[in-house]
Amino acid sequence: MAAPTIDAVEVKVLSRADLTKRLVAKLTRDEAVVGGIGNTNFDLYAAGHRPQNFYMLGSMGLACPIALGVALAQPERGVIALEGDGSILMALGCLATIGMVKPRNLTIIIMDNGIYQITGKQAAATAGSTDIVAIARGAGISASQWVRDENHFETLIARRFDAGGPVLFAAKIDDKPGIGQTVRDPPLIRHRFMRGLGTGRTSALDE
């Protein structure tokens, strides 16, 4: 993929797995992370499970709405939605909602490879005319930015996630598939996530 030029700046094509590992390494305050369907949450899982990770096994497009709900419920906790470009294209309206509600503790990271990688690399609108960052800005998520390279990403995420939001960072990534395979047990995922957020039922079964 040729390096695209956005906002008059050349943007490097990055690796989703590498960016996800860099992000996870920065999470020092038990931030909640909602991983969107498919490769996005496979790479989140592969970056090393954390109790505050939620993995979607369906409901394509709902990573940001789910993250918004967590952010509203726990305003003191930083919440991050990891989503693919195909998924966010399916749910662009949620950016308008987030721009309206303006949760200060919500960060959205879009992994944009311009394709529906997992279904056979069909082209997405993001491969052509659609600019997710421009859409986010237009929805009122005004500080949104394209990630220029790895160092820029490190700079963007070197911040507290419980304030300064909402913000969206989008990265142009390559066409590699996810490197992990999330455990496919929805009640277990939900229960462990709730335990990680301090909201789960506790019992002797967890000992």
Binding site: F54, G58, L62, I66, P186, R190, F193
Partner: protein, 174 residues
């Protein structure tokens, strides 16, 4: 007390604070009542499945929520129910104002309303059709408690028998 006041009162009694909705004429007193009460956190959504996702996330974060929608909105959320709410065992409370029956002028609403109960039954989701102000508080209160205790969603269908239906729609009938 109106049916809407009574409904909001029961939500409060069960610590249900988040109201996520796509507007509907019949739901207006619920939406307005929640917006006028600082107890509630009201979030307008652009689509019903988005509202379902937000209520699911809020529940996992410790905030109980309800989704308000119209019958046609319910038809948009089958995937969110089948791949998020039901398999993850999330006690989402869904309220659907029922169109398509008892004086509907729009044939599209009639058709889409026929898909609602079969969809709920296929997913084995508990649903109650609320027709009467006298029995509504008990049904809603006990069913919300059952939902959170058993880690299961519940759907309340607001019949025109309860709400009086949509007056604008009624005016178009011949």
């Amino acid at each position: 007390m109106t049916w809407a006041d009574s409904f909001l009162h029961t939500l409060k009694a069960n610590d249900v604070r988040l109201i996520s909705y796509v507007p509907d004429n019949v739901l207006t007193p619920l939406i307005a009542g929640a917006a006028a009460d600082n107890y509630f956190i009201s979030v307008g959504a652009t689509r019903e499945d988005e509202a379902v996702g937000t209520v699911a996330g809020a529940y996992m974060g410790g905030l109980r929520g309800v989704v308000l929608m119209q019958t046609s909105g319910f038809a948009l959320i089958a995937n969110a129910l089948a791949s998020l709410i039901v398999p993850y065992q999330i006690p989402a409370i869904l309220v659907v104002s029922e169109r398509g029956t008892l004086g509907e002028f729009n044939v599209g609403q009639v058709m889409v309303s026929r898909t609602m109960r079969p969809t709920l039954d296929a997913l084995a989701m508990t649903h109650h059709t609320l027709t009467d102000e006298a029995t509504m508080p008990l049904i809603v209160d006990k069913s919300i408690k059952q939902a959170f205790t058993t880690q299961s969603p519940v759907v309340f269908i607001l019949s025109p028998l309860l709400t009086g239906g949509n007056p604008l729609a009624a005016a178009r009938l011949k």
